[in-house]
């Protein structure tokens, strides 16, 4: 029976997957249930895991269960701990899944649901999961070293410094994008602002409780935290209607930008146990809970996909992200398909906790497949919305005008008929004054989640509660990321500054700390603030920059992986990492090229900058700018973004050069030259992960 099951399982999954794709493909023009999309994705994930990741594990990397992992050789019970495979998978997933897989697919829904789905599925199987898996493997064979250290070891100190600068630049851009998403979601929203504000004192109470009152009782504190959060979400509706409390929590986007900046600077200097750790626990529990609930919700409600498979915006005139499908889809959806950031996580804590080499397949490859599944669900949530609502929320004010009437008119002209009443009613249903121009993914996703979950539980009256729950859930881990990211950025800046002037590199020095924190916060804070006052700025500007940076980091990680494979004398299999590397380089370099060189001011940073600076010099004001100062601001910001794009392109080209150099060296050498920790035998059959 068991044998029969095994023989039939994979063909059955293949047939189910093919059937699901057929249901999507053949129903063009009619509505398709989102459940088919999710089913098709799940079949692809299972089959890819079973066959492709097995091939990589056994033939390409030759994982060896008899070889001791760093978790065993350096076992200390704190950093290096052999951990149960499933527990570590959960931990790894919680560390890699953030706002990225939720935001990118929502923005990419402007091209229709099909291009995004195909890129998510093909991208994760061939590129993203491979990157996570191979980098995890490399780090595991090198005592859990970080990406930067491994690049230094295998490709020399210059390449190592380049990787470090690249990682720092991307960190600052991602923090800016995340900060801006929170600001856009909470602008003029007293309900949302109130619930998010409450999480700060709440986390502090939890932190003090876990530190002094009942040390280590995380479950107690987290349960208390979740209950207070739910109460806060419910109470928020009274705050938003209250004539005294309401105005206290109603802020414009620029005011909130300052709030996030000040928050980031203070939070990253507080002791970790007070705010960062407790909120991290809360957000992890919420993250896992929401992902599971949404998956179940989609199967219960089986909502229809309302967005077209491919929209007219494939031609590059899209209001959400400017540019044609190629290359811009491939940088808009980064996390979920392939994310360079994961290379930093896969070479962080996870490799220090793997019990057996063989587990790396499930944790590295399987963990990334799970994140891709989250991205698919985000895409589904956006595509099940009325497209009119989707565009009303995501198109900038410069395109759809200031009111529900103007937006309805413009969007109806695009071919998605919508009334201003529906736009205002949707805002009312979710308890907001307006849903217009809330680009950034979080609010769109929250409306999608609210509409699906309200059908499962609570009905129409509960929609506003579900919406604010979803906003809170996203804001919670974005603020955690801002806090943790600012700390990480500070360390990186101190590391770099230490080379210039030694005392600035001292981690325990408070003045050095403050200087590095201000540099880091100033870096991302500038973009957040400009995103709220620059009439053409915002998530639409910063997200492509983030996408290019993130995919370039993935390119760097995959270039390292390729070098390592060649140095291990596995030349035969270099296509496993070389194919995704080549695709990423083609996508990011052509996207970067268009952003730098395009003469269309909607796409090219410099074209837009030139247009505005020339007009400003001539004394003319181009709408939506209102003053000459606005015009100069647009020009300056676009020159800046263009320069950063050039820097990213230069970094990745330099890395490609080092890869070729070291690969040729290794090819000429008849012996393997990869710098691995020497082999130590780990008796098979023994479990090192105690306590489970």
């Amino acid at each position: 029976m068991n044998k029969l099951f095994q023989v039939l399982l994979w063909p059955a999954l293949a047939v189910l997957g093919a059937f699901s794709f057929a249901a999507i493909a053949l129903n063009r023009g009619e509505s398709v249930s989102a459940a088919w999309l999710v089913t098709a994705a799940l079949c692809v994930f299972f089959i890819a895991y079973r066959f492709y990741s097995k091939f990589i594990a056994e033939r390409v990397l030759k994982l060896d269960d008899s070889r001791m992992t760093p978790a065993v050789t350096h076992q200390d019970g704190v950093d290096y701990v052999p951990t149960n495979k499933y527990v570590l998978y959960g931990h790894h997933f919680a560390a890699i899944a953030g706002a990225g897989p939720l935001v990118g697919p929502v923005l990419a829904a402007q091209w229709g649901y099909l291009p995004g789905t195909i890129w998510l599925l093909v991208g994760v199987v061939v590129a993203g999961a491979v990157q996570d898996f191979v980098v995890l493997f490399c780090s595991m064979r090198r005592d859990g070293r970080s990406l930067g250290e491994m690049v230094k070891m295998e490709m020399g100190p210059v390449a190592g410094t380049i990787a470090l600068i690249g990682a720092l630049a991307i960190m600052i851009i991602i923090l800016a994008a995340l900060g801006l998403i929170v600001v856009k979601a909470l602008g003029e929203s007293p309900w949302g602002t109130f619930t998010v504000a409450v999480t700060i004192p709440l986390a502090m109470v939890m932190g003090i409780y876990m530190r002094f009152i009942r040390p280590g009782k995380i479950m107690e504190a987290s349960a208390f935290g979740v209950i207070v959060l739910l109460f806060t979400i419910w109470y928020g509706q009274y705050v938003s209607h209250s004539p005294t409390l309401g105005p206290l929590f109603t802020y414009s986007a620029p005011q909130l930008a300052w709030a996030v900046i000040v928050y980031g600077a203070i939070a990253s200097m507080l002791p970790v146990w007070l705010l960062l750790a407790p909120r991290d626990y809360l957000s992890t529990f919420l993250k896992i809970g929401v992902v599971a609930a949404l998956a179940i919700g989609i199967y219960i409600v089986m909502p229809d996909l309302q967005m077209q498979a491919v929209t007219r915006f494939a031609d590059g005139t899209g209001p959400v992200v400017a540019g044609t499908l190629f290359p811009f889809l491939f940088i808009t959806i980064a996390c979920g398909a392939v994310s360079g950031f994961h290379a930093l996580i896969s070479s962080g804590t996870t490799p220090k906790m793997i019990e057996r080499e063989g587990h790396a397949r499930f944790i590295g490859y399987g963990g990334m497949l799970t994140e891709s599944f989250v991205a698919i669900m985000a895409l589904v949530a956006a595509a099940t919305l009325d497209p009119g609502i989707y565009f009303a929320m995501n198109a900038p004010a410069a395109v759809t005008g200031p009111t529900a009437e103007t937006a309805a008119k413009v969007i109806s002209e695009w071919g998605w008929v919508i009334t201003p009443e529906l736009i205002t009613q949707t805002a009312k249903d979710v308890g907001e004054h307006t849903i217009l121009h809330r680009a950034g993914g979080a609010p769109t996703l929250a409306v999608g989640i609210a509409q699906i979950m309200a059908q499962v539980f609570g009905g129409k009256e509960m929609e506003a509660l579900w919406y604010h729950f979803a906003i809170l859930f996203e804001a919670l881990f974005i603020l955690t990321a801002v806090d943790a990211g600012t700390r990480a950025g500070r360390f990186m800046i101190q590391d770099l500054l230490g080379h210039v002037y030694e005392p600035l590199g001292r981690i325990e020095s408070i003045p050095a700390n403050v200087i590095a924190t201000f540099l880091c916060v100033g870096g991302w804070g500038y973009f957040v603030y400009q995103g709220t006052i620059d009439p053409l700025g915002g998530v639409n500007t910063i997200w492509p920059l983030f996408g290019i940076g993130n995919q370039m980091l993935a390119g760097i990680a995959l270039l390292l992986a390729t070098t390592v494979l060649i140095k291990m004398k596995r030349e035969k299999y270099t296509w496993v990492t070389l194919v995704p590397t080549a695709w990423l380089l083609v996508c990011t370099l052509s996207a970067a090229w268009e952003k730098i060189a395009s003469t269309n001011p909607k796409i090219g940073f410099f074209a837009l900058a030139n247009k505005y600076s020339e007009a400003a010099a001539a004394g003319t004001v181009i709408a939506p700018a209102k003053t000459i100062a606005d015009m100069q601001r647009v020009a300056f910001n676009n020159y800046l973004c263009g320069s950063i794009t050039i820097m990213f392109a230069a970094l990745v080209i330099a890395m490609a050069f080092f890869t070729v150099k070291f690969s040729l060296q290794a090819l000429r050498n008849p012996k393997p030259t990869a710098v691995e920790t020497p082999y130590k035998e780990a008796p098979l059959g023994e479990s090192y992960a105690t306590a489970h």
């Binding site: 527990v87 953030g98 040390p215 479950m219 750790a277 626990y281 992890t284 962080g348 804590t349 700390r487």
Partner: protein
């Protein structure tokens, strides 16, 4: 009920006082304790008992940290170094 209390409160002694635990439910109780420990590790909190066991092997002559002290140490260590969070 004691199992539930124990899981929710994280305090085995308190749970025992509240209800006492019948033998046949002991197995379930153990599972629940395991689940709780697994959940803690998922959110990134190292397990105290694993540390104790390890400490006995590496430094048999040094007294180990108490549970509260270990927890403080572990949290500062995990978040005190360049902790990179994903997008």
């Amino acid at each position: 009920m004691p199992q539930l209390t124990s899981w929710l409160t994280g305090d085995d002694k308190l749970a025992a006082e509240l209800g006492g635990s019948p033998d046949r439910l002991q197995a379930i109780a153990n599972k629940v304790v395991q689940l709780r420990r697994a959940l803690k590790q998922v959110i990134g909190v190292p397990d105290y008992e694993v540390y104790l066991a390890r400490h006995k092997v590496i430094h048999p002559d040094v007294p180990p940290m108490g549970e509260a002290e270990f927890f403080r140490f572990a949290i500062d260590r995990r978040y005190g170094k360049p902790g990179i969070r994903c997008c």
